[in-house]
Symmetry: C2
Subunit: 332 residues, 2 copies
């Protein structure tokens, strides 16, 4: 087995740090890891599972000799730097939304569409989408999904370190709400929920809600699938939750759904009455997508509702990217 050289671009961010951890845990034969970040972090020492590493500058030629580069530095960096990395010989796995809508770029969740071809760039989907499609894919294959209505309960870490830091400071200051710094979310996030994630679009949905529709269709290869999302930020550090109601083409018995999901990859069914259901606090120590509240839904003839929780930094971002890297490596 050939050893590989890996890079993380955006290594100091919330997802970047988690990518380094996930790479270390991945059992990939990593000969070398190179960390890149924005100019203000260059030269900084980052303590990681691979030891202390120095942040390198993104300069011409810097991707030569690198096999796989994981990007999580935002769309503008991805747009500019990813093609250069590919030209210099790396395969890019990009966590930004920059390339996801590009028809020539595969959008990959290994449990769902592991057999993809690429031209150097592979897109990692939106966090809310990844956890949903892991659960929907086996259901769609077995019973066919016609409609998806989803409401999300999204953790602050989904918006990076600054989101987590802002909630943390508000907890420390509570109940002195007047002292709250709300510069990141624009509103207090402690003791509140905010019904806007991303930018508002002309049709009244947000960019995050559009991503959930577009990406779910692309990953499931179901261009006609009807998807409606309401994405909401809640005062939770890590772990996105989703209330999902489906209209299926054929009737599904909840016990059969439980058995099917239980035997599907990357998933844990936690559905034991009121005592044991998926919750964000459980996602800290769980890399699987957790599914519960599985029940027949009476609003549709073939209705099914479920509750999906996953760690947004791990399966929702870093871990999924590393799982794609493993597919690439194993597929050689």
């Amino acid at each position: 087995m050939k050893n590989i050289s890996v890079a993380v671009v955006g290594a100091t961010g919330a997802v970047g740090r988690e990518m380094i951890r996930a790479l270390h845990q991945s059992m990939l034969p990593i000969a070398k890891i190179t960390l890149f970040a924005s100019p203000r972090s260059v030269g900084m020492q980052l303590s990681s599972d691979f030891g202390n590493l120095t942040i390198q500058p993104l300069c011409p030629g810097c991707f030569r000799g690198i096999d796989i580069a994981l990007f999580s530095a935002g769309s503008s960096v991805s747009r500019e730097v990813a093609p250069r990395a590919v030209a210099e010989g790396a395969i890019v796995i990009d966590n930004s939304s920059c390339w996801r809508q590009d028809a020539s770029v595969p959008l990959v969740v290994p449990e769902v569409n592991p057999a993809f071809s690429h031209q150097g760039i592979i897109a990692n989907p939106n966090c809310s989408t990844i956890q949903m499609v892991v659960a929907l894919h086996p259901i769609h294959k077995r019973w066919g999904i016609k409609r998806v209505v989803v409401s999300t309960y999204q953790a602050v870490s989904g918006s990076g370190h600054r989101g987590s830091a802002e909630l943390q400071r508000q907890i420390g200051l509570y109940p002195d709400n007047d002292l709250f710094d709300t510069s990141h979310f624009g509103q207090p996030i402690l003791n509140n929920v905010i019904p806007i994630i991303g930018e508002m679009q002309p049709d009244g949905f947000t960019s995050e809600e559009h991503k959930m529709r577009f990406e779910t269709r692309k990953i499931l290869a179901a261009p006609e699938l009807l998807v409606s999302a309401t994405t909401v930020r809640v005062p939770v550090f890590v772990g996105h939750a989703e209330a999902v109601t489906l209209e299926l083409l054929h009737p599904a018995d909840p016990d059969e759904v439980r058995m099917l999901l239980h035997s599907s990859p990357g998933m844990q069914v936690l559905d034991d009455g009121a005592d044991r259901q998926p919750m964000p606090i459980l996602s800290a120590s769980c890399d699987d997508v957790m599914v519960g509240r599985i029940r027949r839904d009476p609003v549709f003839d073939n209705g099914l509702s479920l509750w999906i929780v996953a760690n947004n930094l791990r399966k929702g971002a870093a871990l999924n990217a590393v799982q794609i890297a493993k597919l690439l490596y194993n597929g050689r």
Copy 2:
């Protein structure tokens, strides 16, 4: 105008205290207010907008001379004591779920079904249901609603003082999660969301979710309405939020919906892009039901989605009960 004598049963609870405040603000000509609570609170002095009041015992004859009694002391007290109060001459407005399913008991939201007849007991609906039907009623009258899919984001005060106290203590102890007392919710509620409210039922829905279906149908007089709810507790002190997706019988333009709701009673439309949307923190100082995120929903031919927030202790409980009392008084 005849002055009236009013009682509050369960006066020391979160909703009971809010009932006293709402009564004081109501402009009802209250000649006398009598407070009842459980035996352990009898004799206690309660400081209120009406001055210091002593908690009285619930004993035979205690409702003689009382015109209207607001109950918020739980189902078992309502079941036992409300009929006695009626027999002694009071009209009971009951905030528990005890009488809501009784076909002879009206379930009232003044903005929706103010013209009711009663036999002494009037039921106040569930908090999540009240705020939803205030918004759905004008939409249903104008366009007809076929299906309702709702996910809730419910405040801890909906489960009483103990819920709020538990969240408060957890904020104070954070990040020492190991010290968290989770006796009330059974799980940490800070930094978490809990996808169970009420008791789990055989069909996989909870009692809270059943209430939202049954009560919405009864209040809107729409026994065929298809309603599916997922009710979730979030770490917010006051203010329930709801993501609602509707299938209508006829197409509704979002601007028309905004105009209709804007001119409907008890409602405020806050729907100004990303800048101004309903949130729990805004409900502390707002007695109206706030509606935003109004948009055409593409999962249905005649789909409409909206986001509804209200103060669960005020419009969701105490204020609605006092508004029923005002209807009774004005209807004399």
